[in-house]
Symmetry: C2
Subunit: 198 residues, 2 copies
């Protein structure tokens, strides 16, 4: 970490609480973690749609809008994955400070990175959602053809095949997308976060 | 740029327009550029406060919340400044996609970097605001004591002293903080962006 000696702390007129007040919600981060093909983005999309129907202000961060933009300089090595997650966590944190309900859908396979993310965002507004689905089912779905490429060695460092997935030990919410219906999973999440008066 | 071969484009249910609709505003980026001490953050703060009074949803990005977080790995060399601005532009772009009015207050001294930022964000929603103030006045204010340190060589690559400031040739809005009152500068900006029905 480089020292930022020429940065002096500002006093902001409008703070997190002010922004949350006019948004009529609380800034939160729903952190979806799970294997490729487990249904993270699909589920995050469904949750976002249901929140939108309740006039809630949301944003979905995933590989599609991060990997092609902010993180286009990063690959999939362990060190690049770590930096990817660090940046995602900071963006999610700023967006939660803006009052938004952020849905983050990344494999985020390592314990240490998710722990770091929760520290950056703040444990009181970091909701870890384990999108659990057996590897064999994710691989058989293979909607993106990625497992096939990973098995052939065309893609390296692929989680579940050539790179580990460290499942959350004590996630805030766990959903099993191989046995539970999409709407049921989404409802479980919406129901949980309703305690935050979002 | 590394290839992101294992990223497949998702179809989002909730898009920019949907989010702008329930926010009752349009996502915009107000990009304040100017010397250290020119009053960028103070002015951005005043504009944000006035927008807030109109129930507008905003977020202010500046060195304080970026340099200590997302960009804590970056220093002030030309290459690090460039990367700083690239990341700020991507974060501002995502926040504008979320429907927010983003206020970005960074020195951003180089033409090429501001041009790149406008391309990332989209020229139709990138408002370049030149916070113009003579170097001698910024230096005499020296509220943060940075010019003094820069003159003594304690801080290197300091814009205006040991690193160039390339003033915008054709900014969307120009305010002169040495002769114009803060409220007048803010009003000029608010008045301009009202055409966007924010």
């Amino acid at each position: 970490m480089k020292s930022s000696t020429n940065i002096v702390k500002q006093v902001y007129e409008i703070d997190v609480l002010s922004r949350e007040n006019i948004m009529n919600q609380k800034g939160l981060v729903l952190w979806f973690t799970g294997l490729s093909g487990s249904g993270k983005s699909t589920l995050a999309n469904e949750v976002e749609t249901q929140l939108y129907q309740n006039q809630k202000h949301t944003f979905l961060l995933d590989g599609d809008n991060l990997r092609h933009g902010l993180n286009c300089d990063l690959g999939f090595s362990d060190i690049d994955r770590k930096e990817n997650i660090r940046r995602v966590a900071h963006v999610a944190n700023l967006m939660a400070d803006a009052g938004l309900i952020v849905l983050s859908a990344f494999v985020s396979p390592f314990h240490s990175d998710r722990l770091e993310a929760s520290k950056i965002i703040g444990k009181n507004r970091f909701i870890e959602i384990f999108v659990d689905c057996p590897l064999s089912i994710c691989e058989s779905r293979d909607v993106k053809g990625l497992y096939s490429k990973a098995r052939k060695g065309i893609i390296s460092d692929f989680t579940g095949i050539s790179s580990p997935f460290e499942a959350p030990i004590n996630p805030t919410i766990k959903v099993e997308t191989d046995t539970m219906d999409l709407k049921v999973c989404a409802k479980k999440i919406i129901s949980f976060i309703s305690q935050y008066h979002v």
